[in-house]
């Protein structure tokens, strides 16, 4: 047998890859479990501003989202580039906010109605005018607990 083997050239055995699928499956399950599919599809541009002093929102079921920004590129031909409000899946006007607030409140149980946080997801480039209008509309219907959605950063800059 070893008579014919050349000395010094002992070939390395191939690395056993039998456990590779297991490892990949493990990763796969991890991502499958942690994945959250987006509930609403965004119709507005939404690059959030950065801030350092952010806090996490605790209860996801008690958060309602209001998106503000200019329509995404695909919709600009139809809706223009002026900033719009998006509630759930549709564009909305300021005067539809009270109705939206009522609907969100109806979805929650009696005890939780006053604990809803209104998360404003506003594009960084939006001007304050529309944001203030939304805030005033929310204030009128007693929706006072706001969250300005931001990204976390370590340091803010001047420009």
């Amino acid at each position: 047998m070893s008579k014919f083997r050349k000395k010094g050239k002992v070939s390395q055995p191939a690395i056993n890859t039998a456990s590779l699928p297991d490892i990949v499956f493990m990763l796969l399950f991890f991502f499958m479990v942690t994945t959250v599919m987006r509930e609403t599809s965004l119709k507005v541009e939404n690059i959030k501003p950065e801030a350092t002093e952010v806090s996490k929102l605790e209860k996801k079921s008690l958060v309602a989202y209001i998106y503000i920004g200019k329509p995404i590129a695909a919709l600009q031909a139809q809706f223009g580039t002026a900033p719009r409000i998006q509630l759930n899946d549709v564009f909305a006007e300021i005067d539809e906010i009270p109705l939206f607030v009522d609907m969100e409140r109806d979805d929650r149980s009696e005890a939780e109605r006053n604990m809803i946080t209104w998360s404003l997801k506003v594009d960084a480039k939006t001007k304050m005018g529309i944001v203030t209008d939304v805030k005033q509309a929310l204030r009128k219907v007693n929706a006072l607990k706001l969250n300005y959605s931001t990204r976390k950063t370590d340091k803010i800059s001047n420009k």
Partner: protein, 211 residues
């Protein structure tokens, strides 16, 4: 022949399939935990009584114009300088909490104090500071968030320093422990009362451009 073994199914491609799925989930996944600055709006106007007159020295005035420029207490500054300025104002006296009196006579352009009873800490002088923020309709949201962020940061830093000094723990640590310990919760509330967050937002001006 005749008795043929059932050959094993080749599992070599399983890894490929799993990879494919893995990559799909990697791409679609959004680890999007919602984070942000939490604020409370004042209640609607018709059910609050008109506010008391506030002495000018107690107000820290911030104006933001449509070009995202800051005017703080009549002075044009950069947003990165805001935090230090706000901190100085909220503390009201550099030596706080020692060596001060009700009228803050050493610093007459800074807010006065009010003797307040605070749980755990007893009677303390609490600054009468109010931060007034006014922005223009043309101010960008990014700038607005920056200003808000710096103000919250100023309060947080002061609270941290104060808590560290009094309890040997920073305010952030107290907040973290508040869920599990009542003592930490009480301490947290006390610190909050010493430096209450008073940010008032004036109705915006419609000067430079709309929306």
């Amino acid at each position: 022949m005749g008795k043929r073994d059932i050959s094993e199914i080749n599992a070599g491609s399983m890894a490929d399939i799993a990879f494919l799925l893995l990559i799909f989930f990697l791409v679609t996944t959004t680890m999007d935990t919602d984070k942000g600055l939490i604020r409370r709006l004042p209640p609607p106007i018709d059910n609050v009584e008109p506010p008391d007159k506030v002495n000018q020295r107690n107000i820290f005035e911030i104006l933001v114009n449509a070009n995202d420029q800051l005017l703080v207490e009549g002075e044009y500054i950069q947003v990165t300088e805001l935090r230090a300025k706000a901190k100085e104002f909220i503390r009201s006296s550099p030596s706080y909490p020692k060596g001060i009196d009700e009228n803050n006579s050493g610093y007459l352009n800074m807010p006065a104090f009010k003797m307040t009873e605070i749980p755990i800490l007893g009677n303390m002088y609490v600054s009468k500071q109010i931060i007034s923020l006014q922005n223009d309709n043309g101010t960008s949201y990014e700038m607005y968030i920056k200003v808000q962020n710096e103000l919250v940061a100023a309060y947080n830093e002061l609270r941290n320093e104060f808590a560290q000094d009094k309890f040997g723990k920073s305010y952030v640590e107290l907040v973290k422990q508040a869920g599990s310990s009542d003592l930490a919760k009480d301490k947290m509330k006390a610190v909050k009362k010493v430096f209450p967050q008073r940010i008032s937002e004036a109705e915006p001006k419609r000067v430079g451009g709309d929306k």
